[in-house]
């Protein structure tokens, strides 16, 4: 069937019409070499991130969902080269991140920040939270102690805590408060992009809502962009503008939020969405995924999802589907379309 509106996907040209791209990832790969034996013979690669292209715009929240082990966090860390990418290109604000020297990378790292999942381990237990936040300022050469103190106080108040809390240690705070401190630390250098790596999944539901609202408020005020990594679709639905689904190191679907939740295309997305608990009895029949995510060391041939897909076809195990635009700004990689 000839469908002229289905543009062929060209890497790096996602949403190319929007000029205010803050982050552009092209064909990003992160392989971990697996070695065995005395001579460290290479026996294979774990393809944690396998050929991903993405674009994020200023002030946008991109939800990145997927099961655990699919490479979401690795992707997040590869963007600021906490994990050195194997190949591919990353442009932040038009500058090439991969080619950056150590010095330039340090400068960049104030502008892209990470908020971590576990508030217990994301703050140094031997440092006051003030010192933890202050570290960002010290590292970025703020010399004047009064300026730094004022900034630390301002940051603490920005995330809804008291300035006097700066002298306390992490163990004196609750999980939600600690997550606020983690956010304050991430905001220290006025970042343009915050990679939020499951920032609320370790928190109680009531606290989750508070943190999400705080993140939304800060976003509105400062106009920063979030790469919001999560496995919780209801959280993603609440906070995101666009949603991307990852499976075994690849993005299988990418769409605007409403389009994504109303008209999921990829069978994996369908299955994920049907797993959200609903209040309506007798709703759509749940699509149960069989088994676990296959090993990324030895991913299935063709479409990586074919081993668990409920709409699998013969072609799926032979040919890898192309990631292409099916509807307006709606991309998927599936042989069904």
């Amino acid at each position: 069937m000839f469908m002229p509106w289905r543009a062929i996907y060209i890497p790096g040209q996602v949403n190319s019409m929007t000029a205010s791209a803050i982050l552009k990832i092209e064909n990003l790969k992160k392989y971990y070499h697996v070695t065995a034996g005395l001579v460290a013979r290479k026996v294979g690669d774990i393809r944690a991130v396998d050929d991903i292209s993405l674009q994020m715009n200023q002030g946008e929240v991109l939800g990145l969902v997927g099961e655990s082990g699919c490479g979401k966090s690795t992707l997040g860390k590869a963007i600021i080269r906490l994990e050195e990418p194997t190949s591919g290109e990353i442009y932040f604000d038009g500058t090439d991140v991969i080619k950056m020297s150590k010095h330039e990378l340090r400068k960049l790292r104030g502008k892209i920040q990470i908020v971590f999942q576990d508030p217990d381990s994301s703050l140094d237990p031997r440092m006051t939270v003030g010192d933890s936040i202050d570290e960002a300022l010290i590292v970025h050469d703020f010399k004047n102690p009064d300026t730094r103190n004022a900034k630390v106080a301002e940051l603490l108040e920005k995330v809804g805590l008291e300035a006097g809390f700066a002298h306390r240690y992490p163990h004196e705070f609750s999980g939600g408060q600690r997550q606020r401190i983690g956010i304050a630390r991430a905001l220290a250098m006025d970042p343009k992009l915050v990679i939020a790596d499951e920032p609320v999944s370790a928190l109680d539901v009531s606290v989750q809502a508070q943190i999400l609202n705080l993140m939304m408020d800060i976003k509105e005020k400062d106009g920063l962009a979030y790469l919001f990594i999560s496995h919780d679709l209801s959280v993603v639905r609440y906070i995101s503008n666009r949603v991307a689904v990852m499976y075994l190191g690849k993005i299988v679907e990418l769409a605007e939020k409403n389009e994504f939740f109303n008209n999921p295309l990829h069978p994996y997305t369908e299955a994920l969405l049907s797993a959200i608990a609903t209040l309506r009895p007798g709703g759509k029949e749940k699509i149960l995924l069989k088994g676990d995510v296959p090993s990324p060391l030895n991913p299935p041939s063709g479409c990586r999802f074919h081993t668990r897909c409920h709409r699998v076809m013969p072609v799926c195990s032979q040919k890898e589907p192309e990631f292409k635009e099916i509807g307006p700004h709606h991309y998927t990689a599936c042989h069904l379309y």
Binding site: L82, I114, D124, H167, R185
Partner: protein, 320 residues
Amino acid sequence: MTEANIPILRRITSPFYGNRRLLGYYWERLKKNKLSLIGLGFIIFLALVGIFGPLFTQDPTKADLGMSNLPPLGLSRQESIYNIKTDDFTTKIIEGSPAHPLGTDSKGRDMLAMLVSGARISLFVGLLATGIAIFLGTFLGVLSAYLGGWVDNVLMRFTDIMMTFPFFLLLVLIVFIFGPSLAIIVLVIGLTGWTGAARLIRSEALSLRTRDFITASKALGASDTRVIFKHLIPNVISLVIVMATLSIPGVIMAEASLSFIGLGDPTSTSWGTILNAGQHSLETAWWVAVEPGIMLFLTVLSFNFFGDGLRDAFDPKASI
């Protein structure tokens, strides 16, 4: 941000403000462990005795054969003296003298003075040798864990090799070659005793290295030096202190053992030396061997109690 906040907040950048509060917190926890407080008390007592004691006691090397084998004050011993004229034994009772409250040894040296001198030497050797060993162990362990890769491999294999040396034999050999002196003993114990510390610190640092706050620090743009000195080392320091406290007794025992077998520094009087002298006169003057033995026992026990208490106080998971 109000202006009023600034004076309070200035203290963020005062380096000891936070640490003092943390120390207070640990002290509160340590205080709940009575045994470790007793241990700490004895260690402080021993340190004071070691530092100031020699000012008040007699010269520990001054022999006086007329006063040999005097019992401690309040005790007495019988001595049979053979009278060649009557071909008979007369029994003489020797009482302890206030001039030598802990008695004297077979050469008439004052036991109190010798024990005080021994305390000084034991603590000196224990602290210095442990200091060297723990410093090396921490440095190599943290470096090995943080750098990883071939550095880690080389350092750890080297540690393995060091561990295979029979430590005491090495000590005896080196003392035999270079001659017995306190400096040599301290150096040998220090330079061979770091292996266990290095391994333990490495494993601790390895698990810390993957914690999010280290990643966060790197994500903020912190340099490797900063991560090591501001995050890794402060987080292993409690382990280091505990390990140091618990390994001091071993070092003290090693020095005492060397002295006991006659390879100690001959110019100094250590507990091991006194023990060595005492073993020959156990029948006539048991106190010469027993007194340094009790001191060694109490010292080792004190350090162990104190170390255990410290470990619990530093462990955030231990409920006290």
